[in-house]
Amino acid sequence: MVKNHLVSLLIASSLLFGANLIAQPAAQERDISGVWMNDNTLDERLKRAGLKRLDPNSTNNAAPAQAVGADILTEQYRQIYEAEQARLAQLAVGTASCGWQGMPRVMTYPYPFEILQTPGRITIIFETESQVRRIFLDRDEHLPFDELDPSYLGDSIGWWEGNTLIIDTIGFNTLTTVGRGLPHSEEMHILERWQFTENDSVIVEMTISDPLAFEEPIVQEIEYSKRPTWRIREYHCEENNRDAPDEEGQRSGGLAN
């Protein structure tokens, strides 16, 4: 009721003073709607370099030996990490199960996402498993603990600081990793600074902290650019996962016969 009265008052005053106070969007909010893609996936890097594939003998291709940040795990989470690595080592190379990546890994999976802007809200629809992040610009506090069900993508609130969109996310489950097997707790907290540039690209500086799992925050930067001609396709891993491990830990459907 109070809100309705306030709206009436604002409409009345806008009529009175001839100013369109209600319909005016926040001046700093820019149009970021559209399809965006991580610029540094393997496929994107190859296309940019005009190459069909990597040189298998180049020393530049090597992946890090362990998870980025594994050296900053607390003792308890180092044990969790090592136990999971031991379990995975029992499976044949190339086997993989399906599942949501959640935050933050969905942000680096090699597929694009689409941003929708509606009043008070930014919605990010990921091609990967059709995961959706809802960023609440019209809320300045996270959900209270009893409403904050642990989830893959967390509870996100956001606000603009000039050309930078800040997103603060908490409320995670522990069914995902930060990436490369690095575990986290339900206390993980992700702060993103989406720094938009004039040529439709954005650098996302992501600070991932976790008082239970990490001795210090992990900071990573990811660069995306807008792809006006792209459309979001469907990607569901369980459609035909022939690489799922069977009872003996082998690829269940890799071969023709």
Binding site: L42, R45, S58, V93, G94, T95, Y111, G254, A256
Partner: protein
């Protein structure tokens, strides 16, 4: 028993190695991991050619699969006829990645003859990941392996 192949139905591509020689710059600082799983089960030190007929094309996630009834196989300059055809299973990128590299669901048809450059499975089974599909009409489809 293996015999020398003398009557190849599709012209050999001689210069595919030029592509490899053209690689690589310093931009590849990060993991070259594929999205869904490691491709470490494939031997990227043993390029191999397969010649035969497509028996299955699965345009599906998380990976596409191409089955080829292989009649001849081997290294680029030493492709050998097989006595009995063997069906190979070749795994590649998702439709999402391939479609952004010019592929379509209709790019391959069952029954069409192809020459395929692959990295074979390390364990010796009849499987691998495809790198290039050379169609009879001269079209070449690529995946980065």
């Amino acid at each position: 028993m293996l015999v020398e192949k003398t009557n190849r139905k599709i012209p050999a591509m001689k210069n595919f190695r030029v592509l490899l020689i053209a690689c690589l710059t310093n931009i590849f600082l990060f993991s070259s991991s594929n999205a869904h799983h490691s491709f470490a089960m494939f031997d990227d030190q043993s390029e191999m050619w397969l010649e035969g007929t497509i028996s299955l094309f699965q345009w599906t996630n998380p990976h596409t699969f191409i089955h080829v009834l292989v009649e001849a196989s081997g290294e680029e300059n030493n492709i050998i006829d097989l006595d009995v055809p063997i069906e190979w299973s070749l795994e590649g990128g998702s439709p999402n990645i391939l479609s952004r590299n010019g592929w379509k669901r209709t790019s391959l048809e069952e029954g069409e003859r192809v020459r395929v450059l692959i990295y074979p499975l390390k364990d010796g089974n009849a499987g691998g990941t495809f790198l290039e599909i050379h169609k009879e009409d001269g079209t070449v489809l690529y995946y980065h392996g």
